[in-house]
Assembly symmetry: C2
Homo-oligomer: 361 residues x 2
C-alpha cells in the first residue's frame, strides 16, 4: 500500500528476539536512516532527542520500549517484584522525556497495567502491537471522516507534521489530506515550514512529495496573507493533547493559524485519535507546555544568528481554544461543535469500546 | 550620542572625492564590516543583495548613489544631455532593485528633479544630505510621538527591523521603543525572529543589545500565544509603503501580527515617515509585493531542509489593512484613526512644508 511506504516506528521479530526500529527524523529529508533499539532507556533518549516525534508515534514507541523493558527485567531480575521495579523505572524514564503529548502517558499507563497482570515480553508485545494497530485503524477512520470535508479545488493549510511520520499509521491531519488526494480530489496543500525545527519543511513536504500531493512550502508568517488572498479554504492540524473542554495543544504557531483562520472565516479542524484526549485536564490552561533549548532558535546551521546575550523564549507548543476549532476528527467520530459535553460523550464511548477492541489489560 | 552609535549608511568627504559607506547587514551580528562604494551600479547591487535594507535606509542610500552617478557623468560625458542620460540610467538601475519600498522611488524622484536644474555633484550631495538629515529629524519626531503611547510595565512586540539599521537615523518602530527606554520607562521588547531572513534575530536583537533595552527573541509563530498570555500590551512595526487609504505594506508576517493583535485587543501601531506614503496607490491591493528567491527558505545554513522538488512561495512583504492599524506615527504627526481622509490631510501638510525644509529641487 502506498500510504504505508512511510513509517516512523516498527517492531521487527518476536517478543524474545525482536527489536524496535525508528526512522531517524532528525536527518530527513537528506537521509533516510533507520536506527535499531534493544533497550528502553535508549528509546527514551531517542524520544527526547526527537529521533521520533508526533504525539501518536511517541505513544506507540513508548509502548514498544516497555516490551524491551520487560525483556531486560527477565534477564536481570529473579522475582516478579524486581521485574516490576525495573518496568516502573523504565516507565518513569520514558514519561520524563516530553511533557506535552499525552499519548505518551496514555500508552505507558496501558502497558503498565498489562505488566501488573502479565509482565512477560509476549504479553507486553501483544498489547503494544494492539495499540499500534489501533492507531493504524484510527488513522484510517479519521482520514475518511476528514477527507469528506475537503472538496476539489480547495487550498488546505497544515502546520508542523501530523503525517505517517507522526503516528503509527497514515497520519492524523496529513492522513486526512492524503486521503482526499487519494480519493481523486484536486487539492493544493500549503505547508507552514514550522519554526523552530522546520518539521513542515523537513517532514511534511517530504511526505507530500512521496505521496505525489501538490503542495507549496511557506514561512509560517505567510499563512495569514495566503488566507487574505483566498488561497486557503480549510486548515487542519494534529494535536498533542486535548483537554476535556476541547482546547487543543499543538506545535507552537497552531494558535496563530487558528486566530487567522477565524479572522478570515476559514474552517479550522484538528485531527487526533482519542488517545490524544486528556479527560483529567479541564482546559487548555492546565496543559503543561514544553520549553525547549534556545539553541533551536539562536543558530542558522553553524552560524549564530543573534547576540550572545540574547534572551530566547522557545515554547514547543501553544493551545488553541475550543472556540476557534470548527471540528475535531477522531477515530471514533467527528466532534462538532467542540465543547465539554461533546468531548465527554465521545470519551465515554471510547471507554465502552476499548474493552472490546483491545486485549484486556 | 548613544543612539547614533549604530548607523547603516554614511557619506564621507565632499562631493568630488567622497565615498558612500554601508554597514554590511548580511554579516550581522557576527561581524561588523563597512563597505565603501564609489559607483552607482555597485550601490544598486548592494541594495538588491540587501547589504542595506529597510525602506528609509534604501531611500537615503539611493540618494547618495545618485551623487556617485553625477560624478561618473562628469567624468565620462561632455554635454549636459549626456550627463542626464547617464543619471537617468543610474536612476533606472537603482529603481529596479526592489519593488515594494516606496522611499526608494521617492528619493530617486527628488534627486532626478534636482539633476534637471543642477546636476553638479555638489548640488546633488547637498540634496542627498538634506534628505538624510530630514530622515534623521523625522525619526526623532516619530520616536517622541510613539514613545508617548508606551507606558512603564508594557511588553512591546516588534517584527523585522525598523531601527537605526533600517533608516538614516534612530529608526522608526525601534526608534519609538528606544526612546521609551531612554525616557526611563521599564519596558520589555518581544522580537519576532522574522523569517525567512531573520532580521529580527540578526538586526533588531543586535540593536537592542547595543542599546541595553531588555528583550526576548521568539519565533514569529509564538507571538500569538504571548498575546494570549498577557505578555504584550502594544505592537509597533515599520512600513515599506503606505497607500492613500492607510493600508501598509511591511515585512511578511506583519499582517499576521496585526490580525492577532486585533483578536487580542492589543493596539497595533505603524511608525513611518511621510516618505513611505504613496498617494498614487489607492489601497494595499495595488502595492507591488516583491517575491524573493526560494533559497531563502529551502536551506538551513548549508543543509537543504526540504525535498528538491518542493515548490516554495516566498513573498517578502504583506499588507496590513488600515482597519487593523490603531495609529501611524509619522514625522509630521500621528494618524489616528487611519483612513483616506486622515492620510490625505497629513500628506497635504507635507507638500506645504517640503518647500521650506529642504533646498528646492
Amino acid at each position: 500500500m502506498r500510504d504505508r511506504e512511510i513509517w516512523a516506528v516498527e517492531w521487527r521479530g518476536e517478543a524474545r528476539d525482536g527489536e524496535l526500529v525508528l526512522l531517524d527524523q532528525r536527518l530527513l529529508p537528506a537521509e533516510e536512516v533507520h536506527l535499531t533499539y534493544l533497550g528502553a532507556r535508549e528509546v527514551a533518549e531517542a524520544i527526547r532527542d526527537m529521533v521520533v516525534r508526533g504525539a501518536p508515534a511517541i505513544g506507540v514507541t513508548a509502548a514498544y520500549a516497555m516490551v524491551l523493558a520487560s525483556r531486560e527485567a527477565r534477564r536481570g531480575a529473579d522475582s516478579r517484584a524486581q521485574r516490576l521495579e525495573h518496568l516502573s523505572a523504565a516507565r518513569a524514564a520514558l514519561a520524563a522525556t516530553r511533557p506535552t503529548a499525552v499519548n505518551l502517558f496514555w500508552a505507558l499507563e496501558r502497558m503498565w497495567r498489562r505488566a501488573q497482570s502479565d509482565d512477560s515480553p509476549e504479553a507486553m508485545l501483544e498489547l503494544a502491537r494492539a495499540l499500534h494497530a489501533e492507531d493504524v485503524d484510527g488513522n484510517r477512520r479519521m482520514a475518511a471522516l476528514g477527507a469528506a470535508r475537503i472538496d476539489s479545488g480547495m487550498g488546505v493549510l497544515t502546520h508542523c507534521n501530523a503525517g505517517a511520520l507522526a503516528t503509527g499509521g497514515v497520519g492524523t491531519a496529513l492522513g486526512v489530506i492524503a486521503r482526499a488526494h487519494a480519493d481523486g480530489k484536486q487539492i493544493h496543500v500549503y505547508v507552514d515550514e514550522t519554526r523552530p525545527r522546520l518539521q513542515g519543511a523537513r517532514l511534511t513536504a517530504w511526505e507530500l512529495s512521496r505521496l505525489g500531493v501538490p503542495y507549496t512550502l511557506v514561512c509560517d508568517s505567510a499563512a495569514a496573507s495566503l488566507m487574505k488572498h483566498g488561497r486557503i479554504q480549510l486548515c487542519v492540524t494534529g494535536a498533542d493533547r486535548i483537554a476535556a473542554n476541547g482546547d487543543a495543544a499543538n506545535k507552537i504557531g497552531t494558535y496563530s493559524v487558528a486566530v487567522n483562520a477565524h479572522h478570515h472565516r476559514i474552517p479550522f479542524h484538528v485531527a487526533a485519535p482519542l488517545s490524544t484526549f486528556d479527560a483529567a485536564i479541564p482546559d487548555g490552561d492546565h496543559i503543561p507546555i514544553e520549553e525547549r533549548d534556545p539553541s533551536e532558535i539562536h543558530a542558522w546551521g553553524d552560524e549564530r544568528t543573534c547576540p550572545e546575550d540574547a534572551r530566547i523564549y522557545n515554547p514547543a507548543f501553544d493551545v488553541t481554544p475550543a472556540s476557534l476549532i470548527t471540528s475535531i476528527f477522531t477515530d471514533a467520530g467527528e466532534i462538532a461543535p467542540v465543547g465539554r459535553d461533546e468531548v465527554h460523550r465521545l470519551l465515554a464511548s471510547r471507554d465502552t469500546r476499548r474493552e472490546q477492541a483491545v486485549p484486556a489489560s
